[in-house]
């Protein structure tokens, strides 16, 4: 399957005849990236699966409203980010805990969830959980997803400068956590 550019996909989606085809291409090109992005926020496969499906349903639904003043790529990532954070909020509401305590909830998943890795890998994820929400997002997208600073800046709508700073803080904190006992 050839790689389609975002513009190709959008062109296909604009015409009602090729819309479904465009969406299928979009789906196949983005499904894995978006899933992993969400999984690294929620950890749990089932929940990540639900949210991923939700994201693509929304993408389909609001494709007409997509104005093209941001990139398709960052738009989808932003929806995924919002949906994931919304999901965390719902978890928090459901479990009746303060929002900043959601990390504790998630931490238990690292021990329980389907992680293949050894102790050090669990520790890595726990370290990431210590980060403030925004830094955690930045760290995930940079360290795990290998997105470019420019791309992350578009997704989160912040400047590259502050982004690099926050990534650096995040890296340092995580490294310190890993080095400690």
């Amino acid at each position: 399957m050839p790689i389609y550019s975002d513009n190709d996909i959008l062109d296909l989606c604009r015409s009602s005849h090729t819309r479904e085809r465009g969406f299928r291409i979009l789906l196949s090109q983005y499904r894995e990236r978006i899933y992993w992005h969400i999984r690294r926020i929620l950890y749990d496969h089932e929940e990540a699966n639900d949210v991923t499906q939700e994201v693509f349903v929304k993408v389909w639904k609001y494709l007409d409203d997509f104005r093209g003043d941001s990139k398709l790529f960052s738009w989808i990532y932003r929806i995924a980010t919002n949906e994931s954070l919304n999901h965390l909020k719902k978890l928090q509401r459901k479990n009746n805990i303060p929002y900043d305590q959601v990390a504790f909830l998630l931490e238990s998943r690292i021990d329980n969830t389907q992680i293949d890795g050894d102790e050090i890998e669990r520790k890595l994820h726990k370290a990431v959980l210590q980060l403030p929400e925004k830094q955690r997002l930045v760290f995930n997208m940079k360290y795990f997803d290998d997105l470019k600073y420019r791309e992350i800046a578009e997704i989160l709508d912040i400047t590259e400068g502050s982004l690099k700073a926050s990534f650096h803080y995040a890296v340092k904190k995580v490294e310190d956590y890993l080095a400690g006992d």
Binding site: R39, D50, N82, K89
Partner: protein, 454 residues
């Protein structure tokens, strides 16, 4: 600290962090096998459920008529009968659904009758039953079953035609995948059972096309010892009631190797009884049994969402033999996505129908107006009142960005995720502007004047 724009320089970014450098690229999470293919079809399914419900319904009707037509080609009288029976089925189900909250027993009765009959039938010949009601119910069972099979078969036939017309709306409606798989399973069961007696050519007819014809009323009435086709919700025991003389006269062979005149039926399938007189085959009874377990839909008692959010409700049941009806949606699938609900409280009732059971669950949905209240003045003097620029309801829109500008358009404050914490530190009293970008699906922007009084 020097930063690099280049992704490949990521490693040099990490050069001072040996642990992270070492762990780079390790993926610790796993997904089920071929999860991503499944994901794609799940999403497409969901869209199909939401967008083409009506189309699907029409298409089902169409499928039925094609089914009827194809059967007409084989036996014209039978085709007419099926049409008739389709209406029967509709009546049966609709009358049931109308009353299902007050009288959920309507269909249950028929099962009871049926099972009772299975046990107490004194004459082996089903046609001799004098109880009009139970005969009627019997028929209903067989009709339901036959129609389902007819439709399923025709769906498979239609798939190819559908794809050749390349109607994209229809391509996005993939229920036939499930159907064909289901039919294959059915087929496998039949084949399994039939193989037992594969030495006898009478039983090799294992093509699925044999299903609808089995429901022919004259065919089922041919059964001397077995009741007609049936659909029940649990396994049941069945006993052949034979007179002593019959026991002596005939020799019986079941297709599932269970001999004797009683056995219990634990799984759906085609049950065949052959009876021999002096080693000569003189008759065959056939009974199709569908065991469809009682639906157990699960909904939470209460859901709470904001009016800009959508809500995915799943009945947590997934059985192709079930039918679903949602009170707030026209969808007939096991899951629905509710969106654009007006503010208010809703009661949602889900009815799940199987061949004999109707199970209703209900839930309450509160759709809250998560409107924002944005102040136009703040007094950051530390008295505990209006000290910060507090936007009520912003917590419903995480990751909403806020920008504060002065009258010259200079940006004084900018955040990606506003947490109601801006207190106009070190700013003189005066007039300012705010611009709030909500992270809802439409990325709504709001702006206005903010006066700071000290």
């Amino acid at each position: 600290m020097k930063y690099s724009n280049n992704k490949s320089d990521m490693e040099s970014d990490l050069s001072n962090f040996p642990k992270l450098y070492q762990l780079k690229g390790v993926n610790t999470f796993t997904t089920p096998n071929s999860y991503f293919d499944q994901l794609e079809s799940d999403v497409l399914n969901k869209l199909a459920n939401n967008r083409t419900t009506i189309k699907t319904n029409l298409w089902r009707k169409y499928a039925f008529y094609v089914a009827a037509a194809s059967i007409v080609a084989v036996v014209s009288v039978l085709g007419f009968y099926l049409f008739d029976s389709k209406q029967h089925q509709n009546e049966l189900i609709s009358s049931n659904t109308e009353q299902n909250h007050s009288k959920p027993k309507l269909i249950d009765n028929s099962t009871a009758n049926y099972q009772e009959k299975l046990k107490t039938e004194s004459s082996p010949n089903a046609d001799q039953i004098k109880n009009e009601d139970s005969i009627l119910n019997f028929k209903s069972h067989s009709l339901v079953l036959s129609n389902r099979n007819a439709i399923e078969m025709s769906k498979i036939q239609i798939i190819n035609e559908k794809y050749t017309t390349v109607d994209l709306k229809e391509v996005l409606t993939p229920p036939f995948n499930k159907t064909s798989r289901n039919s294959n399973e059915q087929n496998a069961i039949v084949a399994n059972n039939v193989n037992v007696l594969s030495s006898n050519t009478n039983f090799i007819d294992q093509h699925i096309g044999a299903y609808p014809s089995l429901a022919k009323p004259n065919e089922s009435s041919k059964n001397r010892f077995l009741p007609t086709d049936t659909c029940v919700n649990d396994y049941f025991s069945y006993q052949l009631k034979l007179s002593e003389s019959e026991l002596k006269t005939y020799k019986y062979v079941w297709n599932n190797l269970q001999g004797g005149n009683s056995f219990s039926i634990h799984r759906s399938g085609k049950y065949i009884l052959q009876y021999f007189l002096e080693d000569r085959l003189i008759g065959t009874d056939t009974m199709l049994v569908s065991i469809v377990s009682k639906p157990k839909p699960v909904l939470k008692d209460h859901y709470e969402i904001c009016s800009h959010e959508s809500l995915l409700l799943s009945s947590k049941t997934n059985n192709p033999n079930y039918q679903y009806r949602w009170s707030l949606s026209t969808s007939t699938k096991s899951e629905i996505l509710l969106s654009d609900l007006e503010v208010g409280n809703y009661k949602l009732i889900l009815d799940v129908f199987s061949c004999v059971d109707t199970v209703s669950v209900q839930t309450f949905i509160s759709v809250n107006d998560c409107k924002l209240k944005i102040p136009n003045v703040i007094t950051p003097n530390g008295d505990g009142f209006n000290d910060a620029f507090t936007i009520q309801g912003i917590e419903n829109y995480p990751l909403s960005s806020l920008t504060i500008l002065d009258r010259n358009g200079k940006i004084l404050y900018n955040t990606l995720d506003y947490q109601n914490d801006w207190k106009a530190d070190n700013l003189p009293a005066g007039t300012y502007f705010y611009s709030l970008k909500l992270n809802d699906s439409k990325q709504t922007e709001k702006g206005g004047i903010l006066t700071i009084i000290r």
